[in-house]
């Protein structure tokens, strides 16, 4: 415990758009322990993918610090960044656009090795053996070494994407919706593979997804995002057993369980996600919240630790008091 591999402080990413500033990521703060998995959940447009890319500096953050093993990666120069990227990798959502259609499996997996001179002085055969080893690790048959991505199905393509990331021997991997484009039976294969790799190689994951059942299965800690901000952060068990933020509650109750009679009453949220363009200074969830009051319009609520390790950003929930419970119409989600 206490071995923090990554710490993110007050990270912001604003995009210019014709209608104003898009606050894609707006003051996000968290840390991940080595060998753990942090789940990031939220609906489309909540900024979770942008967050993942900012951490790898695939997108330049507008403001804030990303400290990886003691170094702020936002301050690194090009050469240092290239060095650092061996340690931080990403797996993408879409197995159909994340692989270069003009390259073979061998080329795709060996590219990071050759390009970063990870095996200096190695012969072609040695590099190829390393590729075969990686293919074996992720479970792709040797005979597919010369195949092109379009000849393979989604599950195999995703395995190649994982092998490419592993080729650098990373310590930390951002998984950006790695299974949401896959069929159920293939999804489980990939999830098990990622779990196995974590155990064997001591990897740290940041697991971005919209699928709550998957994130629950996979993560130690979970962050719930809404419109670029963290609304709730807690260890997975606590979050699922005792969700506090009204948005988290609605999300959890919207999960459809594959059980007869398992989906009786869900909390229905009004309306849809509001625009992330120049949001007013109030609770961003207020417009859809059943518990809103005047306080909710008085500024953006800070993320507070209301019980050990459980953080919530809601004007109505403070350490030791939960005003939501006192309000009328309160229905327990559990």
């Amino acid at each position: 415990m206490g071995d923090t591999i990554l710490e993110v402080r007050n990270l912001k990413k604003y995009f210019k758009s014709p209608r104003g500033m898009v606050h894609a990521v707006d003051g996000v703060q968290f840390s991940i322990e080595r060998g753990q998995t942090l789940g990031v959940v939220g609906e489309s447009g909540c900024g979770k993918s942008t967050l993942g890319r900012c951490i790898l500096r695939l997108i330049e953050p507008t403001e804030g610090e990303v400290i990886f093993e003691g170094r702020d990666i936002c301050k690194l120069n090009k050469r240092e960044l290239k060095e650092l990227r061996k340690d931080m990798q990403i797996i993408f959502q879409d197995p159909f656009s994340s692989l270069n259609p003009r390259k073979t499996v061998l080329e795709i997996i060996s590219e990071p090795i050759i390009f970063n001179k990870l095996m200096k002085g190695a012969s072609k055969a040695e590099i190829e053996n390393r590729v075969l080893e990686l293919m074996d690790t992720v479970g792709i048959a040797e005979r597919l070494i010369n195949s092109y991505p379009h000849e393979l199905d989604g599950g195999r393509r995703q395995r190649i994407g994982i092998a490419r990331a592993l080729a650098m021997n990373p310590k930390f991997i951002v998984c950006d919706e790695p299974v949401s484009a896959l069929d159920v039976s293939i999804q489980a294969q990939i999830l098990n593979l990622l779990k196995k790799l974590q155990k064997e190689m001591g990897l740290t994951y940041m697991f971005i997804t919209h699928d709550l059942a998957v994130v629950h299965y996979f993560s130690n800690d979970i962050i719930v995002m809404y419109l670029g901000q963290i609304v709730e952060k807690a260890p997975s068990e606590i979050l699922f057993n005792n969700p506090l933020h009204p948005y988290t509650k609605a999300l959890l109750s919207a999960i459809l369980v594959p059980k007869v009679g398992g989906n009786k009453d869900s909390i229905q949220l009004r309306g849809e996600v509001t625009s992330p363009i120049d949001p007013p200074d109030e609770c961003r969830f207020a417009k859809r919240c059943d518990y809103r009051c005047e306080a909710c319009e008085a500024g953006n609520p800070p993320l507070l630790e209301v019980e050990p390790n459980h953080f919530v950003a809601c004007h109505c929930i403070k350490p030791g008091e939960n005003l939501l419970k006192e309000r009328e119409g309160y229905v327990s989600a559990g």
Partner: protein, 301 residues
Amino acid sequence: MTAVTQKQGQSATLASRRYKKKSGFVESWNRLKTNPGAMFGLIVLIIMVLLMIYSFLFITKDDVMAINSGNRFKPPSAQHPFGTDSMGRDLFKRTIYGTRYSLTVGFFSVAFGFIVGVFFGTIAGYFGGWVEEIIMRVSDVMASIPGMLLGMVIVAVLGPSFLNLLIAIGISNISGFVRMARASVLSVKGSEFVEAARAIGMSEIRIAFSQVLPNSISPLIVTATARIATSVLAAAGLSFIGFGVPVPLPEWGALISDGRNYLSLAPHLTLFPGIFIMLVTFACSLLGDGLRDALDPKLKQ
């Protein structure tokens, strides 16, 4: 069992040699083969190239330049398949000799425009910002001048010669490729494999040319083929109005220009070079259409 020895690394043959690699080129060629129009175009072009090689080997400059005043305006015959011209020169030999001008102008002017245009177009599309702004505005200016006029100006400044003709048409080809390359790069640039390349630490310029460009090249090849046709026409046009290959040399446009004075007396003087120009442009267009289908990965099934 072989797999085990492979993994030990004592293999005699590499795994990548033991499993067949389906080359994209072979697949595209197989699709192209089934397209009769494209195959017709390809065969015509091959014949043209063979004729050009023949002319290099067997037709001397004297053959096509020597004046024979006793032999003027002969209609086509066994001895002179295309007849003779106003100076008694054999038109068949002159036309065949002319392939070297038309084909080289067509090929090299497009190659020139392709290399320069695709280079700048890729940079504009991939990097965006002020770089793109400058490249695109310059290309707009070039595109706003009609190709023929631009050719005339360039030849007028540099003087009429075959090389200058080639440069003139090459320059007028650039802006088209800049736009095509930019549009094509833009459509590929957002793919996740580009981000993946960035995540393994590749430099931007390398990503642009080793990852993005190969994926946007198909439509450019198609355009290039079609462009050969227009370039051949442009060369003929410039020669026709006297801005191309210097007069006695038998460039096709010059041949037509020469023959136009005797249109009623000896129509074959314009007819045969005209047919050759038509065949080459037609063949290029057909081949271009065929390539578009053959190179489209969406039609892979």
